[in-house]
């Protein structure tokens, strides 16, 4: 059974790694600072909302790209939403691929409809990949936090 100090160490190392890999940015720190005794679950609540909302948007995007006649305004609107929420929780890489996605859509030309559709599908694939990655990492981070708390320790923030 790991000691509290060891568990805290694990949590810190894991978190620092996420920042170093660019998966999370300073906005995630901002969220942590908003958490206190009167709102002890704030980060988990917001991130959970982010997971739910993102999954809904990714589904909508996939459906929209499968249409006979793709509505690129709708696509842009969904990606804009996802870009916004990922930015708000500090999911930096998800935000970045959303920006790339929107840039590709803006370059669209009338003649290249099939090319555009394929490009968008590729972009969506990238977004899904980055989203899955950050989701897995954040879920692991929350589990590590729970372990620290269960062992009687506190979360050493900022790291």
């Amino acid at each position: 059974m790991d000691s509290v100090v060891q568990l805290q160490r694990q949590l810190v190392d894991y978190t620092v790694q996420l920042f170093n890999e660019g998966l999370l940015d300073d906005q995630f720190n901002q969220l942590q600072q908003l958490q206190d005794e009167s709102n002890p679950d704030f980060v988990v609540e917001v991130v959970t909302l982010f997971f739910e909302d993102s999954e809904r948007l990714l589904d909508e995007l996939a459906k929209a790209l499968e249409q006979q006649s793709v509505d690129y305004t709708k696509i842009d609107a969904h990606v804009h939403q996802l870009k916004g929420s990922s930015s708000s929780i500090g999911a930096q890489r998800v935000q970045k691929v959303c920006i790339d996605f929107r840039n590709f859509c803006e370059e669209r030309n009338i003649e290249g409809q099939v090319y555009l559709q394929l490009t968008c599908q590729k972009c969506l694939h990238q977004v899904k990949r980055e989203y899955s990655l950050v989701k897995t990492k954040l879920e692991t981070l929350f589990k590590l936090e729970q372990k620290v708390l269960a062992a009687g320790g506190s979360i050493p923030w900022p790291m």
């Binding site: 901002q30 969220l31 704030f42 917001v46 909302l49 909302d53 916004g84 929420s85 930015s87």
Partner: protein, 152 residues
């Protein structure tokens, strides 16, 4: 408003130490975030998911109520996202400034995009401040001090 604080310009007269803010944003996560940020700065918060709902809350909706008695007199600040489907934050700002009952309420516009023409357009229409998303606690503290003449 020589000398005096912003209080006199607020609809409904003197507010307490807990200003009531109406926050408008179509993004669920951003609504939750701005609500927490404002509450941490001792504000009372009401959120709305779009311009229409915001106007309804303020008494300018289709169902005209005798609004002055209820919500309008309580709102000290409106903070709204710029990019929203249907009515944009800019359009909401215009409607508020065109209303005799609401035009004195300071309006702050938020956006994730730093576009000078957009910013100028909003400021010219009467927005008090323009803030870049994602908002941080320090932004909200600045906002409070700027608009409500607090002394930290």
């Amino acid at each position: 408003m020589a000398g005096g604080s912003m209080e006199n310009a607020m609809v409904g007269g003197g507010y307490t130490d807990e200003p009531h803010v109406l926050a408008v944003d179509d993004n669920l996560i951003d609504r939750k975030l701005v609500e927490r940020l404002l509450k941490n700065s001792s504000c009372k918060v009401t959120t709305a998911e779009n311009g229409l709902r915001a106007l309804e809350y303020l008494g300018l909706g289709d169902e005209k109520r005798t609004a002055l008695e209820d919500n309008v007199s309580k709102v000290n600040l409106i903070i709204t996202d710029y990019c929203m489907p249907g009515m944009t934050g800019y359009e909401l700002l215009k409607k508020i400034k065109e209303s005799s009952s609401l035009k004195e309420i300071p309006v702050v516009i938020m956006s994730s995009e730093n576009i000078p023409t957009r910013i100028n357009k909003c400021l010219e229409e009467g927005a008090q401040m323009f803030m870049l998303k994602p908002l941080k606690q320090s932004d909200v503290v600045k906002l409070r001090c700027n608009l409500m003449n607090c002394r930290s």
